[in-house]
Symmetry: C2
Subunit: 376 residues, 2 copies
């Protein structure tokens, strides 16, 4: 029996919920900003992993999507997001020859320019080029410029690699990618400068640089208005998080604000004691989230955020502890359905097979988390 | 093209691996102990969630399995583990009327006594009883005795609840369950005493107590030899964890030892810098694991454990950092496949759709993680 059309209270717990209006508000805000700033938005689908959400974002004006993994791109390629000039950018390097075959095979199947990959290694570039030449296509690539994880050094190292890449017959060099992390404004500006300076240095060497991709939800305004950045890659803005602010881990870096649209519906399964109640949502459902973030979840009961002492997430239980005599304890009763907000939306969504889409308190759709568990 | 029969080096990364010989060694050790101690073993399938592993354990002599969730029981019921007198015990309380219908429906379908549930609440007991009476079956139940999470107080409270339960016509009271956590020997003994004393107090009230269930991998010897305990519920022993010892979080409580059989195969995808290499396995693949456990993963390269400064698990990257000049850095190269050992096997397995079974370095089978994502 379908849950569609039923009130959210009838959904079996634990279940992942999306408030459609808040979600749409977040999308509208991001794309209104982008139109004004004249910057492309390439949402990072590692956050939401759902083809339905990719489609919503493409419809809102996204230039394409970013995926972290090849297998995410593989399952999203057939979702209708690749029409017109839209494309997928894979932001993680690939060092496996078998996967590089899969990458180029996807380009053969979907059309040249539909799938772009980032790289930081000449071996990878040469391997891709050989495969593409065999297929008689060109594989679009970007160079990742490092800000501390993968990548090559900004500046001279990146220029040298671009010079090598443009000589490889199977590759089509599109530009550079520099993930800058969710950082404060000043750090983002420093990193943006390095990224854009690198793009200009490559141009000075006579090589066209079309795409200069950077930015996260936490830095979307800073990076999205930085001259020379052509596209930003926010992901978590679709979900917001927390009572106030955006992103995850309860941080509101750079005064970014999006509405909190993602919760996990859970239920009080045990209430025999004065200082605690136990719910059916533990770490497997909420994900471990961000270490050291307090509180580990936010709790809503009867639509209101609830104060408590702490929540302990064991594997399959969420235990809400109260100080002795706290009147908030009485707001919770056996069998009651309540909502947890996770402190890391990206890892939490990945725990689930589907998300219940809720409008005005009623379930209107169930969206599969299409790329859940796609790690390769 | 199937990977079966191929060397593990050909498996695409990241992938969950199980060393079959070490896994079997762990099973043999546990059941050898149990036969000598004359205690039943009811492995906790929340750890491994795979029907194939349930079957291996039933074959080794398990009296049944434990699941944390109703939906785990639902997907495992059809896996062939319920022959003869074998059964499934659901260890988490249920407060949802719709799920209680599902619980009793399973008993109707599979046969009375095949599915036992634990409870700590009279409303739940009465709801189950009404449903069972309607179906004209009796639903087997246990009372959970609390050691700090769900449950009722040991002693008088448990006796009172047993007295109420045996009056309910739709229920068949089988005994008590007291999860004692992975605790040191002394604490386990205190908790065992409370559990067994409670069983005896219920018996003194004229009620038969057949099952007295407790114990984890960390306490299997302590609890498994405690007079009056009829069954133990270890889970993580099948995987062991770490270079030495067992369980998870690198703890070797009570000198428990099982072999480390579970790893995640990952690959070096970026190696441009002297102080770090980056792999394709991050927190989504390894799970957040246990907070504050250092190192967050163990690293094997070319079959040997590797020393490093720290591993940073971001969502989809595992970055291995080295101190300047550390010769271990040179043991890692771009494209190399290495193995991570997770510090929490239960949450890690739940991230994956399947596990690659490896014997002598070759893949011999792929086992689906049948109950992955079954949280309800």
């Amino acid at each position: 029996m379908s849950i569609i059309g039923k009130p959210v209270e009838e959904v079996s717990t634990p279940a992942l919920l999306l408030d459609l209006d808040k979600f749409q508000w977040n999308i509208d805000k991001m794309f209104k900003f982008a139109r004004k700033a004249k910057v492309n938005v390439r949402p990072h689908s590692k956050t939401f992993k759902a083809a339905a959400i990719c489609n919503k974002l493409i419809e809102a004006g996204a230039c394409g999507v970013m995926t972290q993994k090849l297998s995410e791109a593989e399952v999203l390629q057939s979702s209708g997001i690749l029409y017109g000039d839209k494309n997928i950018l894979i932001s993680q390097e690939i060092s496996d020859p078998e996967k590089l075959e899969r990458l180029v095979g996807m380009t053969v199947a979907m059309g040249q320019g539909k799938v772009i990959t980032s790289l930081d290694n000449l071996q990878e570039a040469e391997m891709i080029s050989r495969i593409a030449e065999r297929w008689k296509v060109k594989q679009d690539v970007l160079i990742e410029v490092t800000h501390g994880r993968c990548g090559v050094n900004p500046g001279e190292d990146a220029v040298k690699m671009a010079q090598r890449i443009v000589k490889l017959k199977g590759l089509n060099f599109r530009g550079i990618y520099g993930y800058e992390n969710p950082v404060p404004r000043e750090t983002a500006l420093e990193r943006n400068k390095k990224t854009v300076d690198t793009a200009n240095a490559i141009r000075a060497a006579g090589i066209e640089v079309e795409i200069v991709s950077a930015g996260s939800t936490a830095t979307y305004e800073v990076t999205g208005t930085y001259p020379g950045i052509t596209e930003i890659e926010p992901g978590s803005f679709v979900f917001g998080a927390g009572k106030e602010g955006s992103g995850y881990g309860w941080e509101t870096i750079n005064d970014v604000y999006f509405k909190s649209s993602l919760t996990v519906l859970t239920q009080v399964i045990s209430d025999n004691f004065e200082n605690r109640v136990v719910t059916d949502a533990g770490a497997k459902v909420m994900s471990g989230g961000h270490e050291g973030v307090e509180p580990v979840v936010l709790v809503q009961a009867d639509g209101e955020y609830l104060d408590f002492e702490r929540v302990g997430l064991s594997e399959e239980h969420g235990t809400i502890y109260f100080k002795e005599g706290d009147p908030n304890r009485k707001k919770l009763r056996w069998g009651q359905k309540i909502e947890f907000t996770p402190n890391h939306c990206c890892t939490t969504v990945n725990q689930h097979d589907e998300i219940m889409v809720v409008k005005d308190g009623y379930v209107c759709s169930i969206w599969p988390i299409t790329a859940r568990g796609k790690y390769q």
